[in-house]
Amino acid sequence: MAKDIEVSTAESQFILEALKQNYRLDGRSFEQFRDVKITFGEELGDVLVELGRTKVHCKISSSITEPYEDRPFEGLFFISTESTPMAGPQFESGNNTGEDEVLISRIIEKAVRRSGALDIEGLCIVAGSKCWAVRASVHFLDCDGGFVDASCIAVMTALLHYRKPDITVHGEKIIVHPVDEREPVALGILHIPVCVTSSFFNPVDAEQNIKGEENSEIVLVDATLKEELLREGVLTVTLNKNREVVQVSKAGGLPMDAMTLMECCHRAYDITERITDQILAAVKEDIAKRDKYSAILSSENAR
């Protein structure tokens, strides 16, 4: 059984030729990010993100556990990514050791967890003995390229949307209040990283690219599956709205110079700004919709 999507030479030549003439198959411009659609599930922290035909689901769950011995003041935060054949036949069931799958989960891990997007010190309950463990489970449902970008948006939206049950601490004893008894509390989000992936195509031959003077690489933002299969280099930049570069990831591929990198970052910033606003607006709208009691409890009046 074939394990790859087969692309014929004619087709790959055609896509490259079209790119040279400034056309993308789906009609987008080179630096256009696909429209993001965010849908919330019934529970808090249950998010479905659609990026074109790509679909990623993320669900946050939490439990109380013991912190690591060497970090008594910090809670735990895990991100688990799982790709199943549901996303596409190129993904094997129960085998997430493929190069692409590992790379995807590493980049998300670096973008969200290692950048300190979630305040893990705020998850501490009793130092050294009790803390919250927050888990983000990411599921890939449909694949049309841009998994990294979509799942980063999904994880961040889910974290912003999630509310953990309120607790009271009496010395060593803690009381967990059910959600219907006390309003659950939001997680501490320090910043919202957004990944933007650029793909590189080489319109000239390989030798020209290394030795030649001019930089003729074609840079595409947010490649679709077909473009991903044919690209010769990939760069993922993670930024937040404060103009901080969280990570730059480029694992091999076409060599590129500093100016191209700067251009990619600038382009990514505009996209980041737009997506951050979209995430915040979507979360705000959904939380407001769930809030049935604030109207009754509010002391605000017409005056």
Binding site: A2, S8, A10, F14, I15, Q21, Y23, G27, P89, Q90
Partner: protein
């Protein structure tokens, strides 16, 4: 006579006369009941030897059947045959070196891995690898089969591809022809190869075919017009 059926429906055929089953139909070996196994439009027609029953259904997975015209990608070359993929992630089929016009032991075809071919399925047994051929085996002539150079491939659903190939009243190709000159090879495995003189026309055809798939026929004209307008505008910008 045509009607919509779903798997397991009871259908009425004259039990006295022989019945030929086509795709989407199944005959229970014990009860000898004839039931559809796919959802689609049921066709019962009179043929010379009795009645022919089949279901015309749309799907995305292709299984080879004898006589099908297909577009495939060469994925391997062996001592006496090529391996050809008709659809990603499905069992490959073989294309013998002898299945080309004017083939002999000395005269080998010159296809390389990654090439596209237009071919006809010549054997398709359930447990065996299917075989395809690049010639009309009755006359031994080329008859339009063989290597497809340049151009691009559009992937559509199988039902749409069959309509495009067999339905003479299907308006898509005629509408496309009003906008540009093109060469086309339609494979019932859901792959359509198309080539025009200019990249922008190919792009417009690609998008039009993709978008028309699953839309009512009345909407085709507007979709195609829109796509050709978009590609022309992109050049001017």
């Amino acid at each position: 006579m045509t009607s919509l059926v779903i798997p397991g429906d009871r259908i009425s055929v004259d039990p006295e006369r022989p019945v030929q089953l086509g795709p989407g139909m199944y005959c229970d070996p014990r009860t000898q009941d004839i039931v559809p196994v796919n959802a689609g439009v049921l066709h019962i027609s009179e043929s010379k030897r009795g009645q022919t029953v089949y279901v015309d259904y749309d799907s995305k997975r292709y299984t080879p059947a004898v006589g099908d015209l297909v577009v495939g990608v060469i994925t391997g070359a062996f001592a006496d045959s090529y391996r050809v993929s008709l659809a990603s992630f499905s069992t490959p089929v073989s294309l013998s070196y002898m299945a080309f016009p004017n083939a002999s032991k000395k005269n080998r075809p010159t296809l390389v891995i990654g090439d596209l071919v237009y071919a006809r399925v010549c054997t398709a047994e359930k447990e065996l690898e299917a075989e395809i051929e690049c010639m009309d085996s009755t006359t031994g002539s080329e008859s339009g089969f063989g290597l497809l150079e340049n151009g691009t491939v559009v992937e559509v659903t199988l039902g749409f591809a069959r309509h495009l190939l067999f339905d003479d009243a299907f308006p898509l190709l005629r509408l496309l022809a009003q906008h540009c000159k093109f060469e086309i090879a339609i494979g019932v495995n859901g792959k359509i190869w198309i080539k025009t003189e200019e990249v922008k026309d190919t792009i417009a055809c690609y998008r039009s075919i993709k978008d028309c798939c699953g839309k009512p026929q009345e909407a085709f004209e507007e979709i195609i017009k829109q796509h050709f307008k978009t590609v022309t505008n992109t050049v001017e910008e």
